[in-house]
């Protein structure tokens, strides 16, 4: 490894994976604000030194052009990693993402490929308030043409980043903001395929489906419920499109009970898709369904209010208990 971080963290692990991919393929490069500085989560630290300013490109504050230039660079045969800082800042670049990146391959009849990765860290992070906390994963799942990755762990983020870079599809990688600083073990070199859930906990009473930062309260809530004798199986989806419908269906077939735990707004969140799909597939075999997520409110600043947006382990435990009782 060219550059080492003092201690291994989530950010360091994904950084290492990116560095490795950049070594493998000289057409891989990074563009975004403050990437030479190392990125605001340290996820690019040291890359400028190893790969130079032509492959780790500091850009103006021009999100629309960062996104669109990434596409242009992909169209001539490079594989850009487009850094958006946080998902909220991709809003000025939605035309380039929605109208261009997602559609070029299709509307040009297969002549073009947008081989690129858009990194948009998302999720709640310590009172970041309304304009720095938006979760838009379900919008992107609804957008044809893109892969939507929502890792929760460093190993998954690294493995999905590798897949994303090697993929011929445009991949939107929503990394969990609040987890970048966590200690993490070095990850395997293996890419992680899209569309395969990871079983994060075993259990046979209730199926809990979750992803991204919601994994935390899901796991903690399952432990609380376990203390009372109810065992939840937790599936961490890792990608929302494609998503591992079969793994969820198989688990639901065993438990008959489904609880979705998501961090974003529940209304029209991706949890709705999961529940709807399972309702369509399972019919009356599905004894109970529930969704836990954020209320339909912007994210407030005060920590005491921000708590209202967060799914607590207690709420998860209560939902697991309620499901098991039905």
């Amino acid at each position: 490894m060219g550059v080492a971080v003092a201690e291994t963290t989530f950010a360091g692990v994904v950084r290492d994976a990116l560095a490795d991919e950049m070594r493998r393929d000289p057409t891989v490069w990074v563009l975004g604000e403050d990437v030479r500085y190392g990125g605001i989560f340290g996820q690019y630290r040291g890359l400028a030194a190893e790969f130079g300013p032509d492959r780790v490109v500091d850009t103006p504050i021009s999100e629309a052009t960062i996104m669109g230039a990434g596409l242009g660079a992909a169209l001539v045969g490079t594989r850009p990693v487009i850094e958006m800082r946080i998902a909220d800042f991709a809003m000025p670049a939605m035309d380039e993402l929605v109208n261009q990146i997602a559609k070029v391959r299709y509307m040009f009849g297969g002549q073009a490929r947008a081989r690129l990765v858009v990194r948009m860290p998302h999720g709640l992070l310590a009172s970041s308030a309304a304009q720095h906390s938006q979760i838009v994963e379900s919008w992107m799942a609804n957008l044809p043409g893109v892969v939507v990755a929502v890792p929760a762990t460093a190993a998954d983020a690294a493995g999905l980043l590798r897949s994303a870079i090697r993929s011929d599809d445009p991949v939107l990688l929503f990394e969990p903001k609040a987890f970048f600083g966590r200690p993490a073990a070095p990850a395997s070199d293996e890419p992680i395929p899209f569309g395969r859930a990871r079983r994060a906990r075993e259990g046979r009473d209730v199926t809990v489906v979750t992803w991204a930062q919601a994994l935390d309260p899901a796991l903690a809530g399952a432990e609380l419920a376990s203390a009372e004798g109810t065992q939840a199986e937790i599936l961490d989806l890792r990608t929302l499109w494609p998503w591992d419908e079969e793994a969820v269906a198989a688990s639901v077939a065993r438990t008959g009970r489904l609880v979705v735990v998501e961090e974003g707004v529940t209304v029209a969140g991706f949890g709705a898709e999961i529940v709807a799909r399972m309702a369509e597939r399972s019919g009356p075999a599905l004894r109970s369904v529930a969704r836990l997520g954020a209320p339909r409110i912007p994210v407030p600043f005060a920590p005491e209010l921000e708590a209202a947006v967060r799914v607590s382990p207690e709420r998860v435990a209560a939902a697991i208990r309620a499901a098991a009782a039905r």
């Binding site: 629309a64 230039a69 242009g72 660079a73 992909a74 299709y106 599809d169």
Partner: protein, 330 residues
Amino acid sequence: MTSHHTNAALLALRRGMGRIRAFETVALAAHRAKEFAGYLHVSIGQEAVPTGICAHLGPEDRLTSTHRGHGHALAKGADAYGMMAELYGRADGACGGKGGSMHIADFSVGMLGANGIVAGGIPIACGAAQGLRLLGSPAIVACFFGDGAINRGPFMEGLNWAALYRLPILFVCEANTFAAFTKADDTTAGPGALARAESCGIPGVAVDGSDVEAVDAAAGDLVRAIRAGSGPRLLLASTYRWEGHTSTDLAAYRSASEVEAGRGRDPLARLDATLAARGVPADALRRMDEEDLAEMTDARDRSREAEPPPLRSAFSDVQDAGAPEVPSWA
């Protein structure tokens, strides 16, 4: 202006313009006859701009276009039948019928696509140039947009971006007087595209966009500079949109006298006069035009008869991972 072009060079420019004129004249008639669906934006009257510019581009060079992109595509070397069949939404079309007029592309000749979003091609052009540099390619990028597009944020972002990285991009503002149903000048403050480019460190040149010799000469200078490493340049070409915004727009918002004056600036007629003065027989030009019209009419006839794409093809070219299933009813 005294022309420095040989007769052969002028005839090539005339041919290029004539083919665009013929293609769009035929397409417009066909669309008005409801032979195909969707929107159609023709560039009749503006042919000198892509023709004069693409004369200086090779197949390795790239081009980004607009919603009014037939001329750009033809000038860059796209196949006329593939384009016409695309207008008709046929399987033979350049995009297999998935794009239509507004999304014509021919990557095999470096034409990176028309664009249904005003100014949509500008960031793409920036990245294409940056990517080419990373790959060590000497190719350059021509980026076309309209006089209405200069009021969209990506225009300025792109100017700053291109200048910052000294990218090999020729920005081409086709000032055809209109932005849809409004005069472009009525919504543009200040001195316009050239001044905006200069304010981001990009020198530019203004040219009469109905004078193909002038466009060609200016583009030649700019492209040479860009290839020599000057960084980006802007060409502002003033023209006039003869037809309505779309094929169905009768453009009643403009006066007859304005239209007459605009049509008076016909780049083809203008070059014809030059060629006549040089002793090129009018016959030769008429024959050329007849050939072009025959080619495009043939393209129209073939397109009309061509097969529509199979329904299944609606489900391909979406994405590899998470590709849509082909439903039972398709």
